[in-house]
Symmetry: C2
Subunit: 365 residues, 2 copies
DNA sequence: CGAACCGACTGAACCGGTTTACGTGGTTCG
DNA sequence: CGAACCACGTAAACCGGTTCAGTCGGTTCG
């Protein structure tokens, strides 16, 4: 590369006729520099378009003002918002964010953690991947070295700071809402098998049933996954192989993508939402508002979760001592839209239907 | 932080009783090291869980094996796929990717370029933001310094490498398909005012009309934008203020989000897709396949674009000389789904409708 | 008038790696 | 038997910044 090399502090010092220590002082506004000297140095910096290398800058301190964020699926808009929140807060504090995605693959996660650490990030924010025999040694290693990290999903056995919402409570709210509408045959399309979020959401379903007098069907927890396709396939399979009374009248889903996939499957099977089946999603992606039948969903404060995680992580990083793990739970709300209504058998009370069709949106805390 | 400091090459050297040069030789497999020594060093590395800092590693070369990617909207799944492509190829070549988003804001773009360069990225991939009086000086500055960068959207006056599809051709194909179905009142919901992609797609619309005998309506180019909300608002406004014959029977959109927003607006106005209005999107987001009426759209090879951009950029970075700018155009296809059909007036030929409803998908090159 | 102090600036060490030039001691070969 | 060569290691310089201990000349004050 015949590249005119990027100017260094030495070039500036030479051109301004001062030592590099002085240039450094000007840049960082430390020490005392005569204003005439400062002007001269600044002029040279301007003219050379000099920018100090942040790498070299932090070579001594071993702190680089950067944090790593490991997500699970790059193409889920849910994560886009979390990332935006992390970036927003981090930028405000002068931190850079390095994002990596495990795509749900455990080995990719381990490797990504390695790479991020090689890149000298000062701390990590993680959506961990859990599989049947997850080896948590890389996380224990982080603990052992007192390397700061924040989880966005609980892991049993790992003492670490956490930002999350109370998934069980939110999930329970969703099911209870369906029960309050009069549904009695309700199922849950669950997320990835070993995901803690999925477990928590399932737990919420159990609790809702426990609190009601409605019998809990054996097949009420349907394994699906986290992606559009998962909801679609599980939907085809589940509803395709059942008819009439065997079919549930309402479904809560692990997330919005699964819900949308399910809706597609229902449509292909000739079932209408919400007339034949009520559907509730989770995450409250913006795109849901633009569907022909806007989806009822659990609103998760995605952006805020990102901000909070970054805030907590930077606290850990900048603290002199090792802070004890802290768990922060944000609130998830149920946003009621048009994909839910009372079940058919109760008889279509037009007023109730109108109520749901009329109001664009209603929020339950 | 009472952090047990991360081990350095010195710690390893000391523990293994060798010089750091030897440790370096072991790590990089350069020079000659007795196998017994190598073993010993490796054992210590293992035991200390030592990982060389990639920053320090490249301190000399001023090449850090990292590239910056500047996108425009973090929450558009389109970019998620491009990012994935960039990452995929970059990882394969041992490069890290730093992603920043301008969110369509010009000042944010300039700032992001600064930050990325401070972070010592070796090159940049950019979706530039264009506004009415865009000052391109930051791009000229890159050129002047022979700093490698790739554009993912053409900018007049900036000689740089480009990866894109032929937007005009793809857009033309979409309109021509509508014409072939018999539509005569077709409009285009255009993207951000100064975006080159939007201009190119508009150009394609003109060409399609120029090649047909259909009169081009004065209001055939409707300013919308790039987001769900833009399509929704423009749709409400445009279709809300016209009735009967004034209404177009088909619309092509700047992208899929706009198309989806438009669909929502049409639904609220009591117009059905495709019976009353045919709609074509652009980008072919996966989610479209899961809508009740899957959208006809222009398929853009998003992942591949990311890969190609990374490949070309790394070529530029690693080349000894400054390479001349190279423009690569990938192919965009029209994917025909259910949101398009012949206009009503021609009489509903059930066979044709069936044809469209039956086939899940058809691709036109 | 000399000591103390201060503002302005500099040289050198340092961070954690890589690279290069050089120093060993042991073989091989003419 | 001495020169040439090789395998194995090391010391030191370097990258581009920051930091700290000093240097130096000029005021201030007792």
């Amino acid at each position: 590369m015949t590249e005119k090399k990027r100017p260094t502090i030495n070039d500036v010092a030479r051109a301004a006729g001062v030592s590099k220590a002085t240039v450094s002082a000007v840049i960082n506004d430390t020490g005392s520099v005569k204003s005439s000297t400062r002007e001269r140095v600044l002029a040279v910096i301007e003219q050379l378009n000099y920018r100090p290398s942040s790498q070299a800058r932090h070579a001594n301190s071993r702190r680089h003002r950067s944090i790593g964020l490991l997500i699970r699926e790059a193409d889920n808009p849910f994560f886009a918002e979390v990332i935006a929140g992390v970036r927003s807060y981090a930028a405000q504090r002068g931190y850079t964010v390095l994002v990596a995605s495990s795509e749900g693959d455990y080995d990719a996660e381990r490797q990504a953690v390695e790479v991020l650490r090689e890149r000298d990030v000062d701390g990590l924010i993680l959506y961990p991947v859990l599989t049947k025999e997850t080896d948590l040694s890389h996380l224990f290693e982080l603990k052992r070295r007192n390397f700061p990290f924040i989880l966005l999903e609980e892991i049993w056995g790992v003492q670490a700071s956490l930002i999350d919402i109370d998934n069980a409570a939110a999930s329970r709210k969703a099911v209870e809402y369906l029960i309050s509408l009069g549904h009695t045959r309700i199922v849950h399309f669950a997320g990835p098998q070993y995901s803690m979020h999925s477990k928590e959401r399932i737990e919420g379903v159990y609790r809702a049933f426990g609190g009601s007098r409605i019998a809990f069907a054996e097949d009420a927890i349907v394994p699906a996954g986290a992606r559009l396709e998962d909801g679609y396939r599980a939907g085809l399979e589940y509803f395709g192989s059942r008819s009439g009374d065997e079919r549930p009248t309402a479904v809560t889903c692990y997330n919005d993508l699964v819900a949308l996939g399910l809706c597609r499957a229902l449509a292909e099977l000739g079932l209408r939402v919400p007339e034949d089946v009520s559907v509730i999603g989770y995450d409250d992606l913006e795109i849901l508002n633009y569907l022909p039948v806007p989806l009822t969903s659990v609103r998760v404060p995605k952006f805020e979760m990102g901000e909070q995680a970054a805030k907590l992580l930077i606290e850990h990083i900048e603290s002199r001592e090792v802070l004890r793990p802290q768990k922060i739970y944000l609130e998830g709300e149920l946003v009621i839209r048009r994909s839910t209504q009372p079940p058919r058998e109760r008889g279509l009370d037009p007023a109730v239907v109108m109520d749901h069709a009329g109001a664009a949106e209603r929020v339950m805390r």
